[in-house]
């Protein structure tokens, strides 16, 4: 069965493969990875220093791969609703539900963050009900501007490494760290290339495809992903480019890994050519300084100096300018600010950003939505009306 799915996957071109990579434990490469005795660690927030996990040398030459925990494919949230009540966002409930359904049993460990109120408080349920072999917390300060905060985060990174290391391996050697750092920098550069191809006058791929590639990136060992993406990029460049779109839009707001939202938007003829999401452009923003003598610190620095998530209680101006910059790069006709119902952070952040963006003369649409793509008809009506409003 495994090898079969593997064969099927192997026949496809690298691009097709990235676009159709099966989810979670059905992912043939994860099956392959685990079969070799390697470990997989899940994490929930973009403030998790992934490369540090990737650098940890496992016992007997095994490896440890970080994957980002998402909620794609979640069809019900019964148990999660019972545990968490209706005021918790559907993304948090979906991920927890998947975990309770055993969808994340392939994970050997989970790294949590003090990211947002909803997600951080599902830690207890993972710890007590899902019970991964390792579950650890990275306490991330809510400001990046002071050395004290940075040192705290830096220590948190080291502690996380040690906690995982002491169970399955050792602490990484300098060259192991350097390799991991290089791999992740390469990954970010390649993803930026994808964004460049999306921003072209004739974009080489749809937003939906871009999200699928991003999704694949969350769920493959980055070395392998980089390899495939390099080839996939050649395939993309060879494409004629999309011309029959109705409008170019940028997607901003709450956590979005499920392509179905983008599908809904693009089903109106709009093309999502860029985004300012923590699952997208923000995720690959900024590189680690490879020349640093203390690479762990350099990694921590990167996470503290990349464009912030509004859970950081500062820099709305920077985030607004970031969105303006992206909008210019990708020559967008409008920006869609979406937030998942009950997401306090992006509800208010979208008000701040969209008002400023509107003042700058870029058309904006604010959408409230559930994580799981229900109610698509009404979302679609809103988006279509938005396009009509901006004369597209």
């Amino acid at each position: 069965m495994q090898t079969a799915s593997l064969k099927v996957a192997k026949q496809a071109s690298p691009l097709e493969e990235l676009l159709n990579l099966p989810l979670r434990s059905n992912n043939p490469y994860i099956q392959e990875w685990k079969a070799k005795g390697n470990k997989v660690i899940g994490y929930v927030c973009s403030y998790t220093p992934e490369e540090l996990i990737y650098a940890i040398p496992g016992v007997g030459g095994t490896r440890i791969m970080p994957v980002r925990i998402g909620g794609v494919g979640c069809t019900h949230t019964e148990e999660a609703d019972t545990l968490m009540y209706r005021y918790i966002c559907t993304f948090t409930r979906s991920t927890l539900q998947l975990a309770l359904d055993g969808e994340y049993n392939y994970l050997d460990g989970v790294v949590f963050n003090s990211c947002c109120e909803h997600m951080r408080r599902s830690y207890e349920f993972w710890r007590d009900l899902v019970r991964p072999k390792i579950i650890t917390m990275v306490s991330v300060p809510r400001t990046c501007h002071s050395e004290t905060e940075f040192r705290w985060y830096h220590e948190e990174c080291i502690n996380m490494m040690e906690e995982i290391g002491k169970v399955w391996g050792l602490n990484p050697l300098p060259d192991q760290l350097l390799n991991a750092v290089k791999t992740y920098n390469r990954y970010r550069q390649l993803m930026m290339e994808v964004y460049r191809l999306r921003a072209l006058k004739k974009p080489k791929l749809t937003g939906s495809e871009a999200f699928k590639i991003m999704q694949a990136g969350f769920n493959l060992p980055k070395d392998l992903f980089n390899e495939k993406l390099e080839m996939a990029l050649e395939e993309l460049k060879a494409r004629p480019g999309i011309t029959d779109y109705r409008a170019r839009v940028l997607l901003a707001g709450s956590y979005t890994d499920d392509p179905s939202l983008v599908d809904t938007i693009e089903s109106t003829g709009a093309l999502v050519v860029s985004d300012s999401l923590c699952t997208g452009r923000k995720f690959v923003d900024n590189l680690v300084d490879e020349s640093s003598s203390d690479l762990v610190e350099a990694v921590a620095r990167r996470y503290f100096s990349r464009i912030t998530c509004p859970r950081m209680m500062e820099d709305p101006e920077e985030r607004i300018n970031f969105v303006k910059k992206l909008a210019k790069e990708a020559e967008v006709d409008g920006i869609i600010f979406q937030h998942i119902t009950f997401c306090d952070i992006h509800n208010i952040e979208n008000i701040i950003e969209s008002e400023a963006i509107a003042r700058a003369g870029i058309p904006t649409l604010k959408l409230e939505r559930e994580y799981n793509a229900a109610d698509t008809g009404r979302l679609k009506t809103r988006v279509q009306a938005f396009l009509e409003k901006i004369g597209k």
Binding site: R378, T381, R382, Q384, A385, E388, K389, G391
Partner: protein, 269 residues
């Protein structure tokens, strides 16, 4: 040259035929379960009325929740744009349209050409939609169109606080049982509906003139309650407010036909 607009909503479907001189004919039906079926029937009806043949229609635009599935429409436009377009066409002073449909309730702001400036749509709860009133009317054993006149005669509106439409129906039954007059209940219902509309209106703001479109616009009780709630006058439209969406679609059909025509010219020259 004849243009058509067809609007398939969740409760009713409308079709409008239009030429340069104005509205030729229109038709309103209660929806058949299937949008395509509804569209076909309402279109056949309006054709029959006017003696126009389908092939005489130069261009047809569909709107409403079934808009993408209408076989005889060459193009579809969101109901939000259509209501804006239609309202301004019948009264050029209109800048805000409050459309109360079967399931959706929208507040639409437009410019002098009827193009969208801003809009907002209710969240997915029946409270404050046409269905809400339909339910009440059912409880009264009367047609929804009779509610308005009833509410106008109300004096002491009943206090309704349940959020859910289904429960409001039950509350209404209780008020009846407790001996309240239908008039006062209808007024209470109109007020609570108006209150829910205001929270929506607040999100985009109002610019005068204001009008109400959709079936509920015929409910004078709701309109008056709304006027009191927003402290502004609501313009009554010279056409049946229920056809505003379909009319808007027909106007888009006319505009689109012209644009395409010009493009063709450019192409042939």
């Amino acid at each position: 040259m004849i243009f058509a607009g067809v609007d398939v909503g969740s409760m009713s479907a409308e079709a409008v035929l239009l030429d340069e001189k104005g509205i030729i004919a229109y038709s309103i039906i209660v929806v058949k379960p299937n949008p395509v079926q509804s569209a076909t029937i309402v279109m056949e009806d309006v054709l029959k009325q006017s003696g126009v043949k389908l092939e005489d229609i130069a261009f047809c635009v569909s709107t409403g929740y079934g808009r993408e599935r209408i076989p005889f429409a060459q193009h579809n436009v969101s109901e939000i744009s259509c209501h804006g377009k239609g309202a301004v066409w019948v009264n050029s002073k209109i800048r805000t349209i409050i459309d109360i449909g079967g399931q959706d309730c929208k507040v639409i702001r437009v410019d002098g050409d009827g193009n969208l400036v801003d809009f907002v749509m209710n969240d997915k709860c029946a409270a404050g939609t046409g269905r809400f009133l339909e339910g009440i009317a059912k409880t009264f054993g009367m047609h929804v169109s009779e509610l308005g006149a009833l509410a106008l005669r109300g004096v002491n509106p009943v206090p309704i606080n349940s959020i859910c439409t289904v429960y409001t129906n039950f509350d209404v039954m209780c008020f009846l049982a407790d001996g309240w007059s239908k008039e006062d209940i209808a007024l209470g219902v109109a007020n609570v509906l108006a209150k829910r509309l205001v929270t929506l209106i607040n999100k985009v703001g109002l610019e005068e003139e204001i009008c109400v479109s959709g079936g509920v616009a015929k409910n004078q009780g709701v309109v008056r309650a709304l006027e009191q709630a927003i402290g502004k006058k609501v313009q009554s439209l010279p056409v049946d407010p229920q056809i505003v969406g379909a009319l808007g679609a027909a106007i888009f059909a006319m505009e689109r036909y012209r644009i395409l025509g010009e493009r063709k010219k450019v192409a042939t020259n």
